[in-house]
C-alpha cells in the first residue's frame, strides 16, 4: 500500500504513517519533507518498526 505525503511538512508524514500502519503491515511512504529521513530513523528506533530507503523520497516501512 502506498501513502503519498509529498508536499506535507513534519510531523504529518510520520503521523499519517503511524495511522496507516494500524490497518496494514507494510507501507510505501512517499515524502519529500527534509525531516522525514531523520524522523523515520528515530521513529523506527522508538517504536521497533523498520524501514528501508527505496529511492529519493521513497521508503518501505514494515510494522514490527
Amino acid at each position: 500500500m502506498e501513502l503519498n505525503c509529498l508536499g506535507m511538512r513534519c510531523p504529518l508524514p510520520i503521523i499519517k504513517l503511524a495511522q496507516q500502519l494500524k490497518n496494514t503491515e507494510e507501507v510505501t511512504l512517499l515524502s519529500d519533507d527534509p525531516a522525514t529521513l531523520p524522523d523515520l530513523t528515530a521513529w523506527a528506533r522508538m517504536t521497533g518498526n523498520t524501514f528501508t530507503t527505496l529511492g529519493e523520497h521513497r521508503y518501505l516501512v514494515k510494522k514490527l
Binding site: 510520520i14 527534509p34 531523520p38 522508538m46
Partner: protein
Amino acid sequence: MSIAGSVLRVGSVTTNFQSESPLHPAARAFLDDAFDRGWADPSKPHQSSRQTAILLNESKEIFSHHLGIRSEQVEFLADPALGFHLGISGLAQPGSQLYYSAIDRSEVFAVAEGMDSTKLPVGLNGIAAYPEASEKDVLAWQAANGETGIISFQPSTFKGRIFVDATASGPRLRMPDRWHAGLWNSQSWQGPSGLGIFALSERSAWKNPLPHIDHNISSSNFSIPLAIASALALEGYVGDYKAEKKRIEGMNSRIREFLHSEIHDVDVAGDVAYGLPHLLSFSILYIDAQILINKLDERGFAVDSGSACNSANMEPSHVLAAMGILTHGNVRLTLHPTVKDEELKEFLQVLKEIVAELRQ
C-alpha cells in the same frame, strides 16, 4: 510610535526557558557607570582614556580568571560568530585537514566549506571519535553542545591544532590541557549580546585569515562598556551557577524522570551525567513543535525548539538529525539559575496537558 512604548507593551515575560536571557543584574546595575567611564579610546593619553584602559584591564582579569586563559590572551570580538573563521582558518596551514563534529555549530560547517575537511559522525550519545591526525591538521572541538548540553570527550589523542568552541559551555567547563584557539560568547553567562571573547594560546601557531595591515588579531570595534558589563555578568553568573548547580542538576533529572513516566514516546537527547545540567532537549512523537510552542507561550512558558517548522530555513536541527534523535516535536530548555522549582513543576504539568490535548 516609540520603541520604549513598544517594549513596554510586550513587557511582562513569562517563565523563560529560552537560551537568551536578560542581562545579569550585576552587569545591569553597573551599565550606566560602564558607559559613563568606559567611553574613551584606551590607547589615547588623556585621563578619560586611562580610566577606560584601567576598567578594560580589570575586565580582562575577570575573563582570564573565570575562562582559564591569561589576561593578555583575551581579545574582544563585536561579532562572536567571526571567531569561528578567525580561529579555525587562522590555525590552518597549506595541506591542513579540518576535523569537526556533525553536531558542531553551523558556523563551523560554513568555515569547513572552504577547506579540506572531514565531518566526524556522532552516535546517539552525541559523541564523536577524534582521529590522531597529523600535526598540521586542525580540530574544531566543541566543549559542549549548545542544544543538548552534551559534553565532548577530551581531544587528548589529537596531534594537530585545536580550536575550542566554548560558546555554549562558557565558564562551566575547563579548557582542555592542550588548545590553540578558543572562542566564548558573552550571552552564555547572561552577558550582553554582540560580544565574543577570543584567545590564542600562542601567536606563532596562528596566521590572521582576515585582511589586515597590523599585528592586531581583529579589527572589530567592540563596545568597551559592553565588555566591562560582560565581565561583571560573568563574575555574577559564576557565583549564581556555583550556588545553584546542584539544584539545576536536580531539575534536569526531574524533567527526564517526568518525561519518562508521564508522557509516552519522548526522545530525550543525551544523559544528564555527561552533559551541562542547564541544557536539555527532548522530542515528543507525533507532536507539531510550532503548535506546542505557541500553546506553551499562551500559558506563560517560553521555550526553544530545533524542529524544522520552527526554523527559518524549514530544515530540522542538524544536531538532532546527526544524533538520530527525533526532530519533530522538539523542545529545548535552558534552565537559568533564576528558574524556580515551582515554575518547573507547573511547566511540566502544562506540557503534559497540552501534549495529551494535541495527541487526541
